[in-house]
Symmetry: C2
Subunit: 270 residues, 2 copies
């Protein structure tokens, strides 16, 4: 593999995944990953542009930022690209009224959306909300529509909490796709539209940007397909087999965000 100097040359902007890179969720809000608070601070003191690009869909953007600040991170709501606000934009543009199968923590994001007489379904990481009854209700709404439309806020397989691996929204998206014989529209990583909006908000071209994430497919593969570079951290949901993934090869693997930022500050923007 080429030297880091070559791999990171010309990077002007950094997209940071949040869960598994900045912190691991869990009991009592979760815990910052060692070195990440200081790494974000160093990055923001540098000349590199920074934006947070998350598939978090259990919490509103305000709650997520509140939690991160409480954990010590320098981050504000305006710096975060998240799927729920992106979904609201699409629903408004297309005049769609969703049935929501989402976590109570993110429901406030949809306050301005008409949910009466639904003509589509939006699912997000609902956690315990993925009861049989709630899944069956979403299924029945879809089956009653002439043209069933299903939005999924991300399609991650699982994520890591301090207590262990947890099913993400992706498996439930697959369940509804199979039950109804349809294909969901994904809002969030790895959808190219989602990465592009994050790049636009950061004001950096894809070839000048690098994604740092713990998900080899959603973060690394997705960003690379948009023309970005991408590093995988060995924190969060990382598993050793990711480094031999049959389809996706990161531009680099690093132990954690602190190592990634150290390398970026040494080699990027040159």
């Amino acid at each position: 593999m080429a030297a880091w100097g070559e791999r990171l040359a010309g990077v002007r902007g950094v997209l940071l995944d949040i869960s598994g890179v900045l912190y691991d969720g869990g009991e009592g809000g979760g815990a910052a990953i060692a070195g990440s608070v200081e790494a974000v601070a160093r990055l923001k003191r540098s000349r590199l542009k920074v934006r947070f690009c998350t598939n978090e869909s259990q919490k509103s953007r305000a709650d997520l930022v509140g939690l991160l600040q409480w954990l010590g991170f320098d981050v504000s709501e305006g710096e975060v690209t998240a799927p729920a606000p992106a979904a609201c934009l699409i629903l408004k543009q297309r005049g769609l009224r969703p049935h929501l199968l989402v976590h109570d923590g993110v429901r406030s994001e949809f306050d301005q959306i008409d949910t009466s007489n639904p003509n589509c379904v939006v699912i997000a990481d609902a956690g315990e909300g993925f009861s049989y009854q709630n899944m069956n209700k979403a299924f029945q709404v879809l089956m009653e529509l002439e043209n069933p439309v299903l939005f999924s806020l991300g399609k991650g397989r699982y994520y890591k909490e301090t207590s262990g691996l947890m099913l993400d929204v992706g498996p439930y998206m697959k369940a509804l796709e199979y039950a109804c014989g349809i294909k969901a529209e994904v809002v969030g990583k790895p959808s190219p539209e989602f990465f592009k909006s994050a790049l636009q908000e950061m004001g950096v071209e894809a070839h000048e940007a690098i994604m740092i994430g713990d998900d080899i497919v959603g973060d690394v593969g997705g960003a690379q397909r948009c023309g970005m570079r991408a590093l995988q951290v060995r924190t969060g949901k990382f598993r050793p087999s990711d480094e031999h993934h049959p389809e996706v090869k990161a531009d680099g693997y690093v132990d954690n965000l602190a190592e990634a930022v150290g390398l970026l500050l040494q080699h990027a923007d040159k």
Copy 2:
């Protein structure tokens, strides 16, 4: 389409699906489908051999037969091919110890199976048992295995209860497949092994047998792939679009079991 006489010539044995053909499940046990009790009785008085071939995995075979008898059907346990007993056979043959994600109603079928220190997962139609917590537990068990093995008792998309369409085990099988990056082994229809064991128990060759079911893919398509003929009834989960299914064409569509039996008694075994 050929005349019924031609389509049903030489039939010696009849495999009957249960849910959606004999009765619709629901509150208070459900309700027999009009004409089905008498149709089964006529069939059993005829020279045709009869066997019941179900993917029912919420109830033990004993409970299912008890319910059917209570609804007026002439059926005994020994006449029913069901996935839970078939799964137990496989588990024993391969020395596997399952983690069970199944309905309490079917748990007794696994009484003789060692479930300590599990090295595979068995899922069945767990209904309300498909909570997030239970799904996550099954997922975690699979992720901890070096060679994760998942058995699914059937892979139906949904079935019909008196109160409406209900998600079946298939969507949850797809969810775990996606979450773990694996492929489940299906025990039940449309698995060829399952149909073959039902034929063997009936003592009839595939080309002399006909399946009657409400599931265009699981019943009709599955039976045809085994060399049987198959009729779809317009009861249970039948939807008008099934008659224009892109991949499966039944040998005939009938309003209900009563019509099917009328045609069989008129034309079969000639």
